[in-house]
């Protein structure tokens, strides 16, 4: 088994669906953070068979966990301080997401006005359905997983 060292302060994102860690890396904009990141792909998991893990060494207020919840709220977020797990954060679906997904409705105003942000609001928390703020086009978080 591959060994990656402990981190002092930051996050360990565990139970990421195998193969999804790079997508998370992108959405969390980790490329823009000047910090140590370990991407562990296809780690063995008793619960999932295979899973991905992301270890991020950074100040704990530097990550946007709302986006994480939107992508997959079953991910375990361990907050690390002084090398120890200090807290396990529960992820809840954000009420609004901005510029994470794009509206694909060709009749939507966002299709012709490029500078507009793509904003989706949580329309149905039970079925994890988001709708475009402008045209109400549906985006199902479950269907996309």
């Amino acid at each position: 088994m591959l060994n990656v060292g402990k981190i002092e302060e930051g996050f360990v994102l565990d139970h990421i669906k195998a193969g999804k860690s790079l997508e998370l890396y992108e959405h969390l904009q980790l490329d823009k953070l000047d910090c140590t990141v370990a991407i562990i792909k296809n780690a063995r998991s008793a619960k999932m068979g295979k899973k991905d893990i992301l270890k991020v060494e950074c100040d704990i207020d530097m990550l946007d966990l709302d986006i994480l919840a939107f992508i997959d709220h079953s991910i375990t977020v361990n907050v690390i301080r002084n090398g120890e797990i200090q807290e396990k954060k529960e992820l809840v679906l954000p009420n609004q997401i901005r510029n994470v997904i794009k509206c694909h409705n060709p009749r939507c105003i966002t299709s012709i006005e490029q500078e507009l942000p793509h904003i989706f609001y949580l329309a149905d928390p039970e079925r994890e359905i988001y709708r475009c703020k402008y045209c109400e086009e549906k985006y199902s978080a479950i269907a996309a997983k």
Binding site: N105, R107, C108, I109, T110, S111, I112, E113, E115, L116, C132, K133, Y134, C135, E136
Partner: protein, 303 residues
């Protein structure tokens, strides 16, 4: 400052107030003839719509205000590539209120976010057309006496019909209404609407033949099968004549049933029906002016 993007932007109490005002305008037009003196309405129509635009223009003119605007995108700066956000910032310097129609869904909302004046959505693609819904509600309330306690039949294109979906959303906030959806199989009302009605325990039935339910109806809302919604001509031709309301079908209807239609009609209501006292679709157009007058006064805080 308030805008109108969707018919659900107003609570039922606010709608009552709006419709009371529209009723007063109908009874005492002279009282409001100078209510908007010195005010300017901008009609920004990025796609042609004679009926809605003229209704807004008539409403503002009857209030003593003036109207400026454009009636298709080619005669506006949109043709030069100006964004809706920039256009509304400029229009805000010229007018006191704006009615906007745009082929792209959500464009009036983008305008409202950047606007210094109230914006009324006068129709955005297949999305919302709130002043049509307010017109329908005012017509029903004025001619039936209340918004509730009736059976309404919605007939024709219930799949793509924006006015029908919007009217149902607005009516479910009122009590004791039964719905009969009359459409061919291909143009049935979408599942999300029937799911919503089931979830709220609201009674409804879906039928194919208009004749079968005619005696049950207190209101019949007819719609046009819109050619632009079909990908092939063959389907359109097959379905466009599916329902034609004529004197023979109407013979089985209640004496006080009302026939509504958002207009324009093609052939779904035979012209022989126009003189029937139950035909209310031209009165509906008149109520459209009253409700737009009331709306302009309300949004300008002059009511």
């Amino acid at each position: 400052m308030r805008h109108l993007m969707s018919p659900l932007d107003f609570t039922t109490q606010e709608l009552d107030k709006l419709f009371d005002l529209a009723g007063d305008i109908e009874r005492n037009p002279g009282k409001y003839a100078h209510a908007c003196d010195g005010k300017i309405l901008a009609t920004c129509f990025y796609e042609p719509s004679t009926r809605t635009r003229l209704s807004f223009e008539s409403a503002m003119t009857r209030l003593g205000g003036r109207v400026i605007g454009f009636s298709d995108a080619n005669s506006s700066s949109a043709a030069k590539g100006e964004s809706v956000s920039d256009t509304i910032r400029v229009i805000s310097c010229y007018a006191d209120i704006c009615a906007m129609r745009h082929p792209k869904e959500g464009a009036p909302m983008v305008a409202a976010e950047r606007s210094g004046i109230p914006v009324i959505n006068a129709g955005d693609g297949g999305h919302q057309h709130p002043t049509q819904t307010l017109t329908d509600l005012l017509t029903i309330r004025s001619l039936k006496g209340s918004l509730g306690g009736f059976t309404i039949g919605l007939c024709g294109d219930l799949k793509f019909g924006r006015t029908v979906h919007s009217l149902i959303h607005a009516l479910i906030r009122y009590d004791n209404i039964r719905y009969l959806f009359i459409s061919p199989e291909e143009l049935r009302v979408p599942d999300y609407i029937t799911d919503m009605l089931r979830g709220r325990g609201i009674p409804f039935r879906e039928v194919i033949r208009l004749e079968d339910v005619m005696p049950d109806l207190d209101l019949l809302y007819m719609t046009r099968v819109q050619k632009e919604r079909f990908f092939n001509e063959e389907d359109y031709v097959r379905l466009k004549d599916f329902y034609i309301l004529d004197a023979q079908k109407l013979a089985r209807a209640k004496d006080d049933m009302l026939i509504l239609h958002p207009l324009p009609r093609v052939n779904e209501i035979s012209v022989e029906v126009d003189d029937d006292p139950r035909a209310a679709y031209f009165k509906q157009a008149q109520y459209g002016v009253y409700v737009r007058m009331a709306l302009i006064l309300t949004l300008l805080e002059l009511a």
